[in-house]
Amino acid sequence: MIHLALQDLRHDRLTFGFSVLGLGILVFAFLLLIPLSLAVTRLGEAGGLPQNLILVEQNVLQPELSRVPPGLAGSVSAILGERLERLDPVIFRILRVEDHPIQLRGVAPEAWTTTFQLQLVEGTWSSAASEIVIGQLAAQGGGWRTGSEINIYGRPFRVAGIADGPGTKTQTIWMSYAAARALFGDDQGAQLLVAHLRPSADPLASRQDLEDGLRSIGAPFDAYFEDALLRQYGAALNDLRLLSLVTASIAFVAVTLGAHNLAWLAAEERQRMLGVLRAIGFDRRDVARYLALRAGMITVSAYLLALAAAVVFIRLGLSAETFTVGGTQTDLSLSPGMAVLGLLLACAASLAGTWLSVSRVLTASPSGLLGRGPGATFA
């Protein structure tokens, strides 16, 4: 029966080709949409540091537009008192650096290892004003290494080292507060204040006190946990995720229906042929096996074709499996597990389609099958 199904497809290449192509496009859409929605999900869940409270000006949509006035740090220290471990102003920018979207953070180097818990992956911490430390994702994204010269905002900097820290899902460049201030000028000052709480402090209560205190003195600032800021910053991402999940589901339903339709069509147009097979002595199981194999071969071919296309597309089209939304990077990749799962689902859909569509054909008498369609033999 394998041979029969193979020959059937081999000699009917046009049908085979179009079936594979039609189904393949659906599978391709499915294969791209699933990792996309997973990637967006991860983006929304980028973990933060629960002991860090970030103060941002109220009603600014993007953190880089926020501005921290000189007196704010004093108020925050007064409100949090003992609970405060460190308080740092941060100069925050999203820039294109050599064509890569980058988050630049200018903050005192003492805060790097404490507040932001960065760890050196290679190189050293920067010692001069013209030296910077870059995050691992930025190093991958920009192709930079320790010792690289990078032009930022019109001025050359040297990469002293590469660092990584928890909650860093963005391509980030770190420089000292002083260096950033020298680079961007004085007029905009810091965008954010980061209050690093002592481990003993209750983050939620601290945040409440801080917001109450700031409101009572009329300071228009919100306090977020780092991940909350990220989430707000990427508010649209949740909609995007829902949308891509919905589209992925539609694509999957389309794959199922497509496989079902192919099987149904194959059984319908082949009634006479199936009648001949039955008359010749093949039993129902043989005929079912033939149809299932034929549908299975089309499904597997379509799936492998779409998988190859999706892998090529992700690798080439979306540069090295990275997928960046406003400087926030996430992984867009097809894991082998996902690929295998998809294949199993597609095969199951195709088998279910075959079963649903051919049960009528299988229970018909051979003469009934032969009598149908044009050129009915015995009619």
């Binding site: 041979h3 029969l4 059937d8 001949v276 010749i280 008498s365 009934g368 033999t377 015995f378």
Partner: protein, 230 residues
């Protein structure tokens, strides 16, 4: 070579079409001895195909008895009918009904595959059968690349390749020109002689009558009185 006697008793097949019953075959009682070359005549719609379908086990009688080689077809399960067709029957259809995507050789090999033979073995045997019927040079062609007469000879090869005891042919020459029809008929009667297989042929073609050992005539589903044989 097994020889097969066919006995039908009060064989009836009715179809439901809408609210009315169509009596395709009514109360037919016949006996066809082993190795016969039997012809079933009758106008269109008289029930010839219906009778062949019942004998071939691709349809079931509404009532009556039908035994072939002692097997009571009306009592067989679906599975038993499958194996009856596989082991006993070779079909030759009017529109040859070859599978268009398979070569002549593969078409002829199919009944052997159904019997569980390997493709290699089936191909070999199919090749011999095709050569026997003068189609040795056509084995690799697909049906569309063959003439009508050649297609029907391939179909004949497929019908006889398993050496069935019973060969059923429904209008085997209906679609062919006289010359091609003659070739197919000659082949059928020589196979009847050489293999000792029982042939039952439904036809309009009066030429066949001269070769027949038994002639039955149907009219409106009923058996007409026996035709006097010269």
């Amino acid at each position: 070579m097994p020889q097969v006697a066919i006995q039908a008793h009060a064989l009836t097949r009715t179809y439901r079409r809408g609210s009315e019953d169509v009596r395709a075959l009514l109360d037919v009682t016949i006996t066809i001895p082993p190795a016969a070359f039997a012809i079933v005549l009758g106008p269109s719609g008289s029930g010839k195909s219906t009778l062949l379908n019942l004998i071939g086990g691709i349809d079931r009688p509404t009532s009556g008895h039908l035994t072939v080689d002692g097997l009571a077809l009306h009592d067989l399960s679906e599975r038993e009918l499958d194996s009856y067709r596989r082991e006993y029957v070779g079909f030759l259809f009017q529109f040859n009904n070859l599978l268009p995507n398979l070569s002549a050789l593969e078409n002829v090999a199919l009944p052997l595959i159904a019997q569980g033979r390997s493709w290699a073995q089936a191909r070999l045997q199919a090749g011999v059968q095709l050569a026997d019927l003068g189609l040795g040079h056509r084995v690799g062609h697909r049906p569309a690349e063959l003439s009508g007469g050649e297609q029907q000879r391939v179909a004949l090869a497929r019908a006889v390749v398993t050496r069935p005891a019973l060969i059923l042919a429904d209008e085997p020459t209906g679609d062919l020109d006289l010359e091609s029809a003659q070739v197919v008929l000659d082949l059928m009667s020589s196979l009847n002689r050489d293999l000792g297989a029982t042939f039952v042929i439904a036809t309009h073609n009066p030429r066949l009558e001269s070769r027949a050992t038994h002639v039955f005539e149907l009219s409106n589903g009923r058996l007409a009185p026996p035709v006097p044989r010269p």
